[in-house]
């Protein structure tokens, strides 16, 4: 899983270079060539496209037109900012929900551990789109949630919940669906496993004796969490937040299927500019900006968190 990437077993010190120093390069060439041609070169092509002028019919020429960036930013900054905010909220929510779940699976689930892990991963294997569409069924005006509330006479809870959401501006009218709330709910749901798995693999390795030692040295359970468990789980937290935040910031499936015109995220804009408006330079510029923001975020975040386990 993606998880192993970031938290995975520390790479064992590679063993002696054997005779035939060419062997590793021969093994690398096909795979790396593929990545260079179809990942690195397209990035260059993207950067170059963003600086060209012209149109689809008459072709493009390189004019080093940086004005595209300024125009793109001034027009689409709300969508860009919204993407980062939604992704940020969803990441915090996945952390808040994923940490207890990962702890539960790692330390309290006994012989159901493997079974629960399978259940966390299993949704991965079902279509992302179909599962996201299911939230329409759940959150809709006469959807599952409303039905359950009605049948169990707990609709006052649902109404209260809606009032709360309205108060913080996550829904605009009485509709749960097609609102910022629905988009964030979908993002949180879709990327939760990406948070749970690295946290789980980190928490599972936690040495229980360290927790006991903290207790022995006068730390209450809350203090033991703050001073021992949390700092030790930071690599898992960092990996999980990155794995959640990055795809969430670029995602637009949730905002299209669960949101409205007022929840448009940057991915949606890039998609539309490329495939419908056919304004390639603007689309490329926005794509490149998103990439730069993500890279800057990853670098500062990893530095701050002080984990070198990544990469």
């Amino acid at each position: 899983m993606a998880v192993t990437t970031l938290t995975g077993a520390p790479v064992a010190a590679p063993r002696r270079a054997r005779r035939g120093a060419a062997v590793p390069y021969l093994l690398l060439v096909p795979g790396l060539l593929w990545l260079v041609v179809f990942f690195v070169v397209p990035m260059v092509s993207l950067a170059s496209q963003s600086l060209q002028t012209g149109d689809v019919d008459n072709g493009y020429t390189m004019t080093w037109n940086f004005a595209t960036y300024a125009d793109a930013l001034s027009t689409y900054w709300p969508q860009l900012l919204r993407s980062l905010i939604y992704a940020g909220i969803a990441t915090l929510l996945t952390l808040a929900l994923g940490y207890p779940l990962a702890w539960f699976i790692a330390h309290r689930s006994g012989r159901y551990k493997n079974f629960l892990l399978v259940l966390v991963i299993a949704p991965f294997f079902t279509s992302f789109l179909i599962r996201t569409l299911a939230w329409q069924t759940i959150l809709g005006d006469s959807g599952l949630l409303a039905q359950i509330a009605l049948r169990t006479h707990t609709d006052f809870l649902l109404t209260g919940f809606k009032e709360g959401l309205k108060a913080v501006g996550l829904i605009n009218n009485d509709q749960l669906l097609f609102s910022p709330f629905a988009v964030i709910c979908g993002l949180t749901y879709n990327f939760l496993p990406f948070m749970v798995l690295p946290l789980y693999s980190n928490l599972e390795r936690l040495d229980h004796r360290l927790v006991e030692a903290a207790g022995d040295l006068y730390a209450s359970p809350v203090q033991a969490f703050r001073r021992v468990i949390w700092p030790l789980s930071l690599p898992g937290v960092v990996a999980g937040t990155l794995l959640t935040f990055i795809p969430a910031a670029g995602d637009y499936i949730n905002s299209v299927l669960l949101g409205s015109t007022r929840t448009v995220m940057i991915g949606q804009v890039i998609d539309a500019q490329f495939l419908r408006v056919l304004d390639y330079p603007t689309a490329a510029a926005l794509s490149f900006i998103l990439m730069l923001i993500i890279v800057a975020f990853v670098i500062t975040y990893v530095r701050r968190a002080g984990t070198e386990e990544l990469v």
């Binding site: 006991e212 903290a214 022995d216 040295l217 006068y218």
Partner: protein, 374 residues
């Protein structure tokens, strides 16, 4: 809190039962304040469970634990003035050495934690690595950090859970002496759990021998070794030769025994009350190989054939086959006397007061295999 009079650690009627398994079975124990106390027994005997109950990491299913007149049975580990040196040290990998040692002090809001922690590091001679991380230290150094981290809190009782188990032999010997020095310096009550009888005898003032959740015998190392009260203690602490014996007669001073038809004596006072079938025990180094015709009066003597000679350096160990089939182990100091040859017939003798007697209803091999396993 440092140095306040705390009192003895008292366990009364303490048991710990897991589902169907009784790990600790109704233990009564008084550990005097300021003593170096060892809980000795094979793995699985319940000694670590006992320790964890004192630490508060485990709840007894019955009985009470108190320090002085303060009942601590129901308190949480972090509320007890008890600290542990964990088996694999359990040093916090994300904190440096100083922060590890200062953890308990800061947790309790001690203001001058820094000088105190440094002082504790000086006690274990590690002040120079205060800023390093635990993984940068050798096993022996980590062990001393773990000790400093516990000692610095001046607990009423300091618990050591197989603290030297992960060290190699030479380092272990060194640390045994070190630990004893530190205990005498700080004057705290040390409770030391170990399966290594030599370690227990070297360090502790008092040893409690445990087996299968029960206390076998409590006493100072000398008494435990010279006068074991069970075959388990006799075999687990050092080696013993156990000979089947029947009481023939008892006078005021001497009891006469029959060992496979050979008459022997033991001091009458050492007889366990009531039993007429006995194990006569004698430690290998107490048995002498004596030249023909020089048997002194009053010695118990046996004859046998040398079946094995092993040179141990400081001593030589012989296996001598008895006429009834069993082999006796005999250890002779290498004091320059000629060694007995393999296959030769020899005469063995010992002073009756150097032997001990046990009730024959016990298994002669109890505790013997366990020593081999470790």
């Amino acid at each position: 809190m440092a140095g306040h009079a705390s009192g003895d650690l008292v366990l009364s009627g303490v048991s710990r039962v897991y589902d169907t398994f009784t790990a600790v079975d109704n233990i009564d124990l008084v550990i005097p304040q300021g003593s170096f106390f060892a809980l000795l027994g094979p793995s699985g005997c319940g000694k670590t469970t006992t320790l964890r109950m004192v630490a508060g990491l485990e709840q007894p299913t019955a009985g009470t634990i108190s320090i002085g007149d303060h009942d601590i049975t129901a308190t949480k580990p972090y509320q007890r003035n008890v600290n542990t040196v964990f088996q694999n040290y359990a040093l916090f990998p994300h904190l440096d050495i100083l922060d590890n040692v200062a953890f308990g002090l800061r947790q309790r809001g001690v203001k001058d934690w820094k000088p105190k922690a440094m002082e504790a590091l000086e006690l274990v001679e590690l002040a120079h690595v205060a800023k390093k991380k635990p993984t940068q230290l050798s096993g022996g150094m980590q062990q001393r950090v773990a000790l400093a981290r516990a000692v610095v809190n001046r607990p009423d009782v300091l618990l050591l859970d197989e603290p030297l188990g992960a060290l190699d032999l030479k380092l272990r010997r060194q640390m045994q002496i070190e630990l004893k020095r530190i205990q005498q310096e700080v004057g705290l009550t040390f409770v030391h759990v170990t399966h290594d009888q030599e370690e227990a005898m070297t360090m502790a003032d008092t040893i409690a021998v445990m087996n299968a959740g029960k206390l076998q015998q409590v006493g100072d190392p000398g008494t435990l070794y010279e006068k074991p009260e069970s075959t388990f203690a006799a075999n687990f602490l050092g080696q013993s030769n156990l000979l089947r014996a029947t009481v023939k007669g008892v006078s005021a001073e001497i009891a006469s025994l029959d060992v496979h038809g050979i008459p022997m004596t033991v001091p009458a006072a050492s007889l366990p009350g009531g039993a007429s079938e006995l194990w006569l025990g004698i430690r290998p180094e107490k048995v002498r190989i004596i030249s023909e015709g020089t048997e002194a009066a009053g010695l118990n003597t046996l004859r046998g054939e040398v079946t094995d000679v092993s040179f141990l350096g400081v001593a030589t160990q012989y296996l001598i086959a008895m006429p009834w089939g069993r082999e006796l182990t005999v250890v002779q100091q290498n004091d320059g006397m000629p060694r007995a040859a393999l296959g030769s017939n020899v005469c063995l003798g010992w002073v009756p007061a150097n032997s001990f007697v046990l009730d024959a209803s016990q298994d002669a091999d109890a505790g013997a295999q366990l020593v081999e396993d470790e």
